[in-house]
Symmetry: D2
Subunit: 336 residues, 4 copies
């Protein structure tokens, strides 16, 4: 039984807390920290005895072996380092830090402490995408030639969010950068990014883009393209295709139901799932499961701090490419 504490019981924290409280074996959630009363109540309702507004309740508790950090992004680094210094394994929601350099420092510190660190790239644990990776690992596609990722949100977040998001590449494409590395099993060597404001001029006025296309050259010779949009009138759209020497593999969107209605207007399928909370629901459970399993087996973390950094590097390179309108080598991006 691994004893675990959770810091942050907001939107994501609630998902993790509910999963830890009743759906994962081999783990006991014994403490939850949240500044506000509502998150605290949620924790108590799920049977957590030790609920507090105070992070030290978890950091200083010697019984706790692992900490799940789902507090606001600007506290991730601080809490992760604190927990690691207290000798606890860390599961940290993305991003580690908004600054690549700070994130790098955090990852190195935790690594030097010899404490396990996993980053919450949940999409890797979606049954569709993990099946794609599994088919590739088994060699069913042969050598890989092309990757195509489509990632479109149903509607843009508020401008207030956009302003502090760090920009489209760091906020949204970051998932696709991680997915690209995960699926292809190869590092990116060069990035070329184009983007503009096609959805809402207010996003441009806030200094960001809402539409982007990124071209990735992988070290293994394959090429990837990512399409992003902050708005999709037909709903949340997350697709992927990998083409290799033996065939091609595609992930299409699951729909709300498998019902088709045919009338004189044609045959219509059901709508897309609403947003990431619906689409990736089971992946949130799965990622904590594999985290716990890795702790139990003392195996390597399924998504390392290094993985967290590399996705951020790609976002940085994409920003540079967008600004200078030229392909940018990954080696141009410094971690210091």
């Amino acid at each position: 039984m691994i004893k675990i504490g959770i810091i942050g019981v907001g939107r994501m924290g609630k998902i993790h807390l509910a999963n830890l409280a009743s759906k994962i074996e081999g783990v006991e959630l014994i403490a939850a920290v949240n500044p506000g009363e509502e998150g605290q109540k949620f924790a108590r309702d799920h049977g957590i005895k030790n609920v507090s507004p105070n992070v030290e309740t978890i950091i200083d508790n010697p019984e706790i072996e692992a900490v799940l950090i789902s507090s606001p992004s600007d506290t991730h680094s601080e809490y992760a380092v604190k927990a690691a210094k207290a000798g606890k394994a860390v599961f940290c929601e993305k991003p580690i830090d908004k600054s690549l350099q700070e994130a790098s420092k955090t990852v190195r510190t935790i690594s030097d402490l010899g404490v396990p660190l996993m980053i919450g790239f949940n999409q890797r644990f979606d049954s569709n995408f993990s099946k794609v990776r599994s088919e590739i690992v088994q060699g069913h596609l042969g050598s890989l030639r092309h990757l195509h990722i489509i990632s479109r949100d149903p509607m843009p977040p508020p401008i207030s969010y956009i302003k502090k998001s760090g920009g489209l590449f760091k906020d949204m494409t970051i998932h696709d950068f991680d997915m690209a590395r995960f699926i292809m099993g190869s590092e990116v060597d060069e990035v070329y990014a184009v983007g503009n404001c096609l959805v809402d001029p207010a996003i441009g006025e806030a200094g960001d883009i809402d539409s982007a296309t990124v071209l990735l050259r992988f070290e293994n010779g394959a090429v990837g393209t990512i399409e992003n949009s902050r708005e999709s009138k037909y709903g949340y759209d997350q697709r992927l295709e990998v083409f290799g020497s033996k065939g091609t593999i595609k992930v299409d969107n699951p729909l709300k139901s498998n019902v088709i209605i045919a009338t004189h207007l044609g045959s219509t399928m059901d709508n897309h799932l609403n947003f990431f909370m619906d689409r990736y629901e089971s992946s949130y459970l799965e990622e904590i499961k594999v985290f716990v399993e890795a702790l139990q087996n003392k195996g390597p973390m399924p998504v390392s701090g290094e993985d967290g950094l590399k996705a951020m590097v790609l976002a940085e390179a994409a920003n540079k490419s967008l600004k200078e309108n030229r392909p940018v080598k990954i080696s141009e991006i410094s971690l210091d």
Copy 2:
């Protein structure tokens, strides 16, 4: 080079004539007979030299080895027997005759003359359905357990047509009866049919039904169901599924295009093909090809006179079952 003549250049005759004139190798269409000027002109425009309103032009021409009969249904028997007596191979559009007993007489006569006779059940030569049969013959489904056929027309024919159609089972289900025998490779032992008027009461007043469900028990133990409707608001609908001990095989409708458009209303596929002329276009070419090949190789006819009779027997049994609301054994239907 097999020399061939065609009797009847109406809607179906034009399709056959155009195919014979330019798309089929090993055959030469040298004569066409049609009472009206329009069909005669169509024949001349396609390079047929010998065009006439007179059936004897073909029957008495010793050069002609095979005759394709696509004249009105009530002349099929007469022309088929005449052509056979003149020693010519016969390709006859369905039905051989509206009366099962007359049809039986015709088939026996032609059989006694030792002349090849093929019936125009074109749907057997549709690439979808022939692939299904081929998979079954190769054993990919194992032993067969269930057949399900859906056959729905886009809209009912005029009441004037209904009145002389011979009824739904003989006019429309006849194709499905033949398809059932072809696909399953087994004879039907018993028929149970229900039907009613759900589309247009005028069809009921004309003494017919417009909706039907037929249950077939095959000699091999499998069971089949056929769904028919004279009206389908979403277009022509022709589907089929065969379930066996190793799996199931399904034929879905080809659509006008492979275009899908997704908007806030859902994802919509293109419409169905308009009607049988579009859906089965290539099967008309294919059936004449195999007829010609069988003539050249002196092989058995791909769809025999016997096949034509058996589908009619099933229609007769369905009518009897509908009237008496009980399962009817095929052995209850007399050919004499």
Copy 3:
């Protein structure tokens, strides 16, 4: 807060217990009864304080307002009546009783007591099927003409199970009979059933069939067909189509993933979900939700005792039809 007790913590009971313990609002699961230790431990692990092998613990507890019965089938009637006599609302797993006459007596007794009774036909609450019903209720299909249900299990149960199952129609088709009534919103007037042993002769020796086709005539003039098989080599298969004057609506099987892999062998989709536990997982949660809602709103039960009886009547009629090989009127089946 409605206080509830559960009787029977076996396979189905565990699903209901886990749902009641943590996923349903407005209800508190305060007691669980199970003869064996394993089910009792499961209940305690889910935080149920009052766990006992003794049914009276629940029946005699005046705090408990509702009882969920998921004990073995032959105890349903007894416990349901006991709970009803103690004034508690009853949620009863199907079947109410193996004997139609006993079941009828139970339903009438509970009805006379004026206590709410819901039968666990969970498939009605599957999001696919409930969407179909909703589209029909909204009039999108117009007047209904045909229903087609395919229901195939991945593999037959053990012969020992077959022997006490009550036969295919009562054990397996019963779900389809209920679905037929639910989807069509019309009662069945006449049943014609055929069936045989195509999967395993041992099933025949045990006095049962393993393959069946049932034809239903509804009071509204529509006709339905049901296809059942105890074995499907490609996995659990549950499909449905309703055809109406305005169009057709189809439910296809959800698959394990939305991944398609194309190689030189063709394009292959992922496998079917394993069996009903996977396919209908969310429907078990949904059915308890609507039960609780109905209790809270003092509304009518979403699936009544009457519904439970009517599906049994259809099974009885199908058995009679199979035996006598003729269409059987529902009015021929007596409840007494």
Copy 4:
């Protein structure tokens, strides 16, 4: 009746000849020119009276109003100019000329002569792609944001062909460049191309690439990506998706049949169509139809000489981008 002559009865010429001979109304094919005997025989077999090895037979025939040029690529320019100078309308297979500068000269010459010129970009007339364009023109997608084209051949051509092909962009991507302009209704402003040899090193030794990804920036702000491969183990693959402010529209591959077979191995769809001759068969007929209609109505040519040039310019820009690994403006490419 427009009288027409055809120059070149090779693989493509045969398709055009057969279409002109019997499937297109309002036109009469009165002459065919081909150096070899086999093509001449093909023409005579299709009822063409005036068959010759001599181009002048067509150029000098005052009866002929239009010429279809399907001779080898290096003769297109010469015959097109000759025919135009003789006052005949010209339908010219792509490419106009291998040299962009020569092609430009040819187009300007014919334009100065005031003679209609159409280029054979047949894929525009495929029913799938023309439906996409039609939906866009009707405004169903709103303003356009992204285009994605996948174009993969089943297997590479012989190295001897590669060597004189002009390179992947001019030989294969040229179709996608034209499709991009056609679908988007907007000109390209900048091109970034990457490519390499992933299929066969012999292609690299011949100085070409076999895999490419091209990013296009359109003047309207949209971005397009094209994926090309000379080899696809699962068959010919031609897909396209356009994403706009109101939705997205996708073209998937038509398959050999609509048959799906499900076994314990999963559900498998039929294979892709073999290659462009099968996939685009009907588009060849359609393009000649619209050419003839435009002649009859004296309307503008559906695919102009300008269109032919612009696709070549994109290919030239892609080559420059590949060589210099940087985005290349279209304005950098000179026509002189």
